[in-house]
């Protein structure tokens, strides 16, 4: 009996992946939330570095620090120096100073981009177990913490290494939009002292716990997500049009080449019959320049992005359907 392998961005933990699970401390979660809340209003993306260590097949994230926003000055020099200083200082106070990844906030789920791919590739190349944590503040504000961890699949790593982004390269490695990123499950773990703190806060907190999760208003969020989906689909269709024109051009060119060769041969036979020297063979490739094949990597990224959008929208709709049925039950009792 053949076993069905689950495909898609979630689940499939390949056997050769060094990281099977991510363990995050509560402190890191709070810091990421605070960083976005204070510095990332609007559609700004906030980023930061994750620190921790690797234990067997688990990646433990014990601390993090934020990156300043990109300003007009030369950000590169500042960034590296900032990072070095920060890590050196943290080492003095016994905080784990091993880089294990980075985090980024996202806007309605859009994070599959060239920049992310490049950064994650350089991280994963340097440190094998690194991950990127994607924090979705809007989904969190709706009631449940949305934090996902992604790594690049080994296949994608190979492609990035060779910088071969052409269609043949991608075909060779058989990378589809579904096996670009792999998601790693996350577990939150707190030490005993932090647990005591949480109980204290629970007692003393004057703000009641939020019940946003049960709110029924969904239309504005759906609209926004669908709009982003439509934009991406438009990009995708433009890409497809480009690819179609390219393939049409290539086939037309092939035909033209063919015709030219035939005409040449005909002329040559005619000339031979008349006893004249045949025309020299001309370099065909110089005459017919093959058109540039469009880059395939962008299409792949767009496809991946569309996929993530669809997943998030589906999660959202399933939640809302559940809530609507609950509301129906509540009404049913009253009427």
């Amino acid at each position: 009996m053949a076993s069905r392998k689950e495909s898609g961005v979630s689940s499939s933990n390949t056997l050769d992946s060094p990281v099977k699970q991510i363990q995050i401390e509560g402190l890191v979660v709070l810091k990421i939330i605070k960083h976005y809340q204070e510095e990332g209003q609007g559609s700004e993306v906030v980023q930061g570095v994750l620190l921790g260590l690797v234990v067997e097949d688990r990646l433990e994230i014990t601390n993090c620090f934020p990156f300043p926003q990109h300003t007009e000055e030369d950000a590169d020099f500042d960034e590296v120096q900032y990072q070095m200083e920060m890590m050196r200082s943290l080492r003095h106070v016994n905080i784990d100073h091993l880089h294990v990844g980075w985090y980024q906030s996202t806007f309605y789920g859009s994070f599959v981009s060239r920049a992310l791919l490049d950064s994650q590739f350089s991280y994963q190349h340097a440190i094998e177990e690194s991950v990127v944590l994607i924090y979705d503040p809007i989904k969190t504000a709706q009631g449940s913490l949305s934090l996902k961890a992604y790594r690049l699949t080994p296949k994608l790593m190979e492609i990035c290494k060779e910088k071969d982004f052409s269609a043949e390269g991608l075909k060779k490695a058989a990378v589809g939009y579904e096996n670009m990123f792999e998601e790693v499950p996350i577990v939150i773990k707190n030490s005993h002292l932090i647990s005591v703190l949480l109980w204290e806060l629970e007692e003393k907190s004057t703000v009641p716990s939020k019940h946003e999760l049960l709110s029924l208003s969904s239309s504005s969020h759906l609209e926004k997500s669908l709009q982003m989906l439509m934009d991406r689909v438009d990009d995708m269709s433009q890409d497809i049009v480009k690819f179609n024109t390219f393939s049409r051009n290539t086939s037309k060119q092939q035909q033209q080449k063919h015709q030219y060769i035939q005409r040449r041969q005909q002329e040559n036979t005619q000339r031979q019959s008349r006893g004249e020297p045949p025309l020299p063979e001309e370099d065909i490739s110089k005459m017919f320049k093959p058109p540039q094949p469009p880059p395939r990597m962008d299409t792949l990224l767009i496809a991946g992005q569309i996929n993530t959008y669809c997943q998030t929208v589906k999660e959202f709709t399933s939640q809302n359907l559940g809530k609507l049925f609950m509301a129906e039950a509540l009404q049913g009792h009253n009427s």
Partner: protein, 313 residues
């Protein structure tokens, strides 16, 4: 407030308005603990509002302290308002403390503050924190240093030694006392401490709280529909508690409280009365919207996978 005759003022009997804020038992005039006094003392000075991330940071740096150190200190950053100080960030500073002397790495503190300023330029040094229960003489020295960095610095203590079985958070400002010119001293006056949260922080804390319940102190992030399920279970629990209370009141076991009755009235009125057909139509249209969106997204996904296959051919 009336003074209790038995201990002549070292505890305080409650007036009825305060009594309603506590669970029924303590309103019967029991001797109160120091904690309660702490909570209700009128204090002059800014209200200190703390975010949970600061407390978690302090607890974490306490766990990572060097061998032999009994407490850790560090700087707290935040913003100052007219009547309140909001503490939003902190970092620990290495220091050495022995019987007669204390050494704090000032350079380090300055460097860290510069680095933090790059990320959030609006945060300023508002004081310093220390773990532990008491205020020692060394604290006075450290406090002096910090008064050079910030006006009227706030001293925050987090009781990690869990005296009285609680982890208390206290805040102080220093005030001069004594006879001017002759013997002057410094007194630390307490301030009211409030815990405040951003919305997302509140949701994060709720999630972190679930880890307290599990024996291995871990918790995975649940899937979407399961979250709705847990939320619904929570609401159900709350409803059962309210129902039990109502039963008790009806059977006479508990005296009815008017304010609770008014809240219950509000609660019932909040469920809107919608005629059945209107509700049906609203429900159906919403469900249709959601189903359509699901269908469209599935279509989009099928489209891109088709495109993938065709291109690879």
């Amino acid at each position: 407030m009336k003074y209790c005759p038995t201990c002549r003022g070292s505890c305080v009997k409650l007036s009825s308005s305060l009594a309603s804020t506590l669970p029924p038992q303590t309103s019967r005039g029991r001797h109160l603990t120091r904690d309660f006094l702490w909570k209700n003392m009128a204090v002059y000075g800014p209200v200190v509002k703390i975010h949970p991330v600061v407390l978690a940071s302090i607890a974490d740096s306490y766990e990572r302290r060097n061998e032999g150190a009994t407490r850790v200190i560090g700087t707290i950053l935040g913003t100052i308002d007219k009547h309140s100080v909001e503490i939003t960030n902190c970092f620990s500073v290495p220091h050495n403390e022995s019987e007669d002397e204390v050494a704090v790495d000032m350079e380090f503190a300055k460097n860290m503050y510069e680095l933090h300023k790059k990320v959030s330029p609006s945060e300023a040094i508002v004081g310093w924190y220390a773990t532990g229960f008491d205020i020692t003489e060394h604290s006075v020295l450290i406090h002096e240093y910090y008064s050079r960095e910030a006006q009227n610095p706030i001293h925050l203590t987090l009781d990690t030694t869990l005296q009285n079985g609680k982890m208390n958070v206290r805040a102080y400002v220093s005030a001069q006392m004594g006879v001017p010119g002759k013997t002057v001293g410094v007194m630390f006056t307490p301030l009211t401490v409030k815990h405040i949260y951003y919305d997302t922080e509140r949701i994060g804390i709720d999630l972190l709280h679930t880890t307290c319940a599990s024996p291995s102190r871990t918790n995975g992030l649940t899937s979407d529909l399961a979250q709705v399920g847990t939320s619904a279970a929570r609401v159900q629990d709350m409803l059962t508690t309210v129902l039990a209370y109502i039963e008790d009141v009806l059977s006479g076991k508990v005296i009815a409280d008017n304010s609770v009755g008014r809240c219950l009235m509000d609660l019932l009125n909040k469920v809107p009365f919608i005629p059945a057909e209107d509700f049906e139509s609203m429900l159906n249209s919403n469900i249709n919207d959601l189903l359509m969106v699901t269908y469209l997204t599935n279509l989009a996904q099928a489209q891109i996978s088709l495109n993938e296959k065709l291109v690879v051919l």
